[in-house]
Subunit: 687 residues, 2 copies
């Protein structure tokens, strides 16, 4: 059951789909103060789940989180905000309920930071819609899962990408021209490392202008895209939030002509500095501007592009024109001073403080259907609506095929238009674990198509880090290796042990029938693809503690290694499971392990996973790209004690004909390995 | 056996004590190139130990480390240097040997970073002394321990602090005056939380001038120190490397008069900016300057101070006068530009690049007994020699008592004059583990008196973080809670669960007889206080993998909890051990656990440790400060299967009369709890 309680006059974020009856009674569970502060005393063993893209654990206790989309690549544990604002959480303890704070400005979630036992949620203003969700689960069902399911029904179906977007992608900020990309593709193919996509970071544009292509380095994008497609490769260009101020540049001129850019109080366009230098921000909250911006993607669609990533859409601001001038004016004053502690830090702080300065976000406005609104009050909706611009345009421009789209910044609601990647992380071992922990939190909030920059975006990657990270990443729907300019090159073929990478990345394609099927079923039913163990084993008190293992779909549990030089790890089994080492050709090894604690050896080039009793995992023979994977002749990995049944979802991978009954095939296997199939056109054989 | 191989004309770092016969043959084990590059192919299971203060694991494989003392408070795993340069490592694998590279400039240790299987050591110049250490261990003895013991004999006895320095200390950058410190002391005493020292960060000085005291905020330091001493509290002021340029300031004027400051090529004193603004650096490599600077500590000794910490002695440089002017000149040029990606990053990079700029370290010189030398070539010796300045002065000024001294920057050799703290860390959970991992690496390099800033220096601490960190910190010789200005206040009494802090910090005082005894024996015999498990159980292949447990002295193994919200952890027991929960009054619980893997519950307010079979741990009844701890009437915790024996070291805690036979008491306990003591004046009773 969901209760909606409204305070003041909430801004219509459109996070929730459809209309909803308001609850007129008191706020259940939480103590409310002034319509913007809600608190709850937690008991020692209460767990708090949710908050989507964030630092720290699956259990969010012990920190202060701020919903304030921020461009901050250093995801260290002391941060309070990352790129997104996902205001949904579940308290699982003495009481068990979900909370969604639908408010587009700053919200703080003090989950036992100030007082170790207190949860305090505080919005900047008392204009918000609060949703309290109570379980409708029957006896023995998972309460947390039920709460998520209700929440997901409230916010609408999650974005579904094309099937090829489940292949492995390679990206780097600094692929400077066609030839460099050709070389990357060739090297993967020669090394026998599968690949489906190469991402174009900002380098492909002409001086970082959206919807342009640098004609010197990419003389004919349409031809190049076609050439790549023949090799099974999709090119996926980046789109930035800011539009360069430049006379003669059509996007700039059209935006100016129609008044589509965000303006300051004086009615003049707000000027921010980003990649191209001075830019304007399209007013993504203005429906006309959004439609205009969305249709610009056609320029690239028309050149054979079928996937995009939206970046810098918090929006990130290197500086505002006003503040930059202000800083320049003040810098000179320091020149004649003895720069001691206080003065030097002030001097340096002024320059460091140029980027993403809170004051800049108070300087510009949006023209929303419900009236003019200052940006900071709706800050968390910008990236969401940029992606919505594209998503709505794609439905119009490409009604018959899915276009890949994921965004850096997001708010709940955006999950209907695109996925996300988890932003600019680092080549840190601790970011493997952070990647793992974010996944179920994001799924709770409706974001299913997601993944981290594998190998780490910033800082220098090592061979072992990349291997271990890929061993997690091969289970994430978005599986992309991405690195920043200036860092060590980290394409898988750059290191010494090519065969190990072939084997690990190859496993993604072997498991693809299962991964795609589980993703699609979760998206279509409003379920989670990644679940914390405690969601599946709610009665298991130890499962509540597990912060480094995940359930992937209905059959698999994973327990990746995320410590450098580790030769294995401890794993908790909430029930008897089968440990499998399988890479596509033959069963390398399998072992039945009892419920409880185990130490498992996992060599650097190995990936192990665990199959639940009486569950099946359909696998393919692999392939160098998604379209080469044979989904018709599958093998079945299984842990069958009595009998196991599995519903495989598969489709053409492009159309939106999700409800076609031919997409679903049921298969059964008994304990002797006898397989029965209901449905046409597919064979399954026991491994 | 140690072989010394000399290349070129090494600078005399005085890291090694006494003279040493050179080896004229080839370099054993390593492939040598050009007298400055040494490489070694590692096998898959080889472990590399050492490198002292550094990021990453006890096993250093998989990263590139640079010996280049750096002021960089962000100890993230991508860093290559921290505050110290400790060029000693041990390869433990197919072959087993130690390497010490005695070279005071930049050395890189590529331990499988570029190529996962290659160890490459590279010094900037081919003027160095290389020591290769081979084990002399007998059958069944620990080879690694033997190598360390030989190395420690080579570099001389480690610094020994007074006994009170094993008490708990509280520090914060921003204790602004006497009253604030009185309040901190009072609050600890009222909360029943033991305390022995309050550290004075830079705030006590008059405008950050070394050896001055701010007369407004600390009107009479001698009186205040005496008042504090009556309450069992020692005040420990900070001393910085740079001397403020200010007419009338005696230290500045004397230094100028005698030419004791570092000069540029043109003979003029080098000007750097640090806390006071413009400063000169005393030439710590000039014996006369060093003696002069060391004797300055007398100003504070005469006011009743008996402990110091040396800071900013990498030396840290906020800016050089030359580069600052250069940056100011260039900043204006950016004003009229459109600051795009490239220009904006260059603009911001210029300002960010002011601090600790490599070029600045090439601008000044030292007048060493062997000639003039450019700073960057001997960079890693500065902090060492600043601390040596103090250490040598203390031996002269205070021959009959020990003075507390620890430093931020260090090089091997400095360990004879002071301890270290591990520098400006952060309130990160991962820094608990980093703290743990550094401890044995530091011990290998001779640095025994050491500890991290408990609770974390930068960033905001949480109650659970502090508790878990203290549970490790109570075993480190230096046990200090320290935080930076602007962060959340983190004195133990600031949080909600005062009794838990009382209990955890109280345990330090309960264990003090053991901790002090083990520290002193290790220091006097050249042993390690903290050891990796593999040093004690060399035949145990799993022990080699353990990166989050330590042996503390001869009887105890620790396995701290370092994950937020964890209610316990996995522990590997390399042999049957007794798990103990004991806080001084009665045995809370104990349990015999078999060799192997265990999951152990550890509540937030609990500390567990493990006692080896037939080993004893002498404990006291605790106390509010070290001098209140009764070392005469002790209890014995033990895990006695047959019979256990323990040699207790204790002394007056002040004098240097370490060899007095009265300092050592032998005690035995049989399996029925019967205790026998050899020595006078102490009682021991079985718990």
């Amino acid at each position: 059951m969901i209760r909606k309680i409204v305070f003041g006059t909430p801004f219509d974020t459109e996070a929730v789909t459809g209309s909803f009856q308001e609850w007129e009674g008191e706020v259940p569970y939480l103590k409310e103060e002034g319509g913007r502060k809600f608190s709850y005393r937690m008991e020692e063993n209460d767990v708090v789940y949710g908050l989507g893209e964030n630092v720290r654990g699956i259990n969010k206790r012990g920190w202060l989180y701020e919903s304030k989309c921020s461009d901050d690549p250093k995801h260290s544990e002391e941060k309070h905000s990352l790129y997104a604002a996902h205001n949904f959480l579940i308290v699982d303890g003495a009481e068990h309920f979900g909370v969604f704070v639908d408010y587009p400005g700053m919200v703080t979630f003090d989950v036992g930071y100030t007082d170790i036992d207190m949860l305090t949620i505080e919005a900047k203003e008392a204009d918000l819609a609060l949703y309290i969700i109570e379980s409708e689960a029957g006896e023995g069902e998972s309460i947390s899962e039920n709460i998520v399911k209700q929440f997901r029904a409230l916010i609408g179906r999650s974005y579904i990408p094309p099937k090829w977007a489940f292949g492995y992608g390679q990206s780097r900020w600094s692929y400077m021209d066609e030839d460099e990309i050709r070389e990357v593709v060739k090297a993967h193919r020669e090394a026998g490392i599968p690949l489906d996509a190469v991402y174009l970071d900002i380098d492909y544009m002409e001086r970082y202008k959206d919807f342009t292509v640098n004609e010197e380095t990419f003389p004919n994008l349409a031809d190049f895209a076609a050439e790549m497609r023949k090799q099974g490769i999709h090119l996926v260009p980046i789109i930035d939030a800011g539009v360069k101020i430049e006379d003669g540049y059509d996007v700039y001129e059209e935006g100016m002509e129609h008044g589509y850019f965000c303006k300051k109080e004086d009615g003049k366009e707000f000027v921010a500095g980003v990649w191209p230098g001075r830019v304007h921000f399209p007013d993504m909250l203005n429906a006309d501007a959004r439609r205009w911006f969305g249709r610009k993607y056609k320029v690239l669609l028309d050149q054979g592009i079928d996937g995009f990533w939206n970046d810098m859409n918090e929006p990130a601001i290197f500086y505002s024109e006003e503040n930059l001038q202000n800083v320049f004016n003040k810098l000179g004053e320091f020149r004649s001073e003895n720069l001691d502690l206080e003065k030097f830090f002030r001097f340096q702080g002024m320059v460091d403080g140029l980027a993403n300065n809170a004051k800049d976000y108070e300087m510009f406005y949006h023209e929303h259907k419900d009236g003019r609104v200052r940006h900071d009050k709706v800050h968390n909706l910008f990236g969401y609506n940029m992606t919505r611009a594209a998503g709505e345009a794609f439905e119009e421009l490409e009604p018959d095929r899915r276009i890949l789209m994921f965004s850096r910044s997001s708010y709940i609601g955006m999950h209907r238009y695109g996925g996300i990647w988890t932003g600019d992380n680092l080549s840190w071992w601790s970011h493997i674990l952070l990647n793992l922990r974010m996944m179920p939190s994001l799924n709770m909030c409706g974001i299913l198509y997601t993944g981290a920059d594998l190998g780490g975006f910033g800082a220098d990657c090592t061979e072992d880090l990349l291997m271990r990270w890929l061993a997690l990443g091969l289970f994430t729907p978005l599986m992309r290796n991405h690195a920043a300019m200036g860092t060590r090159k980290q394409e898988a073929y750059r290191f010494t042990k090519t065969e190990s990478f072939q084997k690990i990345i190859g496993l993604r394609y072997v498991l693809l029938p299962y991964i795609y099927s589980e993703f699609m079923k979760a998206a279509l039913k409003g379920d989670m693809y990644f679940r914390p163990l405690s969601f599946v084993y709610p009665e298991d008190t130890f499962a509540r503690r597990v912060e480094d293992q995940l359930m992937v779909g209905e059959s698999i549990m994973i327990a990746p290694v995320y410590e450098q030089n580790a030769k294995g790890r401890y794993v908790y089994l909430p029930e008897r499971m089968k440990l499998v080492r399988f890479f596509g050709s033959e069963k390398e090894s399998e072992e039945i392990l009892e419920k409880g604690h185990h130490y498992i050896d996992v060599a650097l080039d190995e990936v192990v996973f665990f199959i639940r009793p009486d569950h099946l995992v359909p696998v393919s023979a692999g392939g160098c790209c998604v379209e080469k994977v044979d989904f018709s002749n599958l093998k079945l990995l299984g842990f069958v004690e009595k009998e196991a049944s599995y519903e495989l979802y598969d489709d053409d991978g492009y159309s939106r004909d999700y409800d076609n009954p031919a997409n679903r095939t049921r298969v059964c296997m008994d304990k002797d390995g006898k397989v029965t199939v209901w449905g046409e056109g597919r064979t399954f054989t026991a491994v």
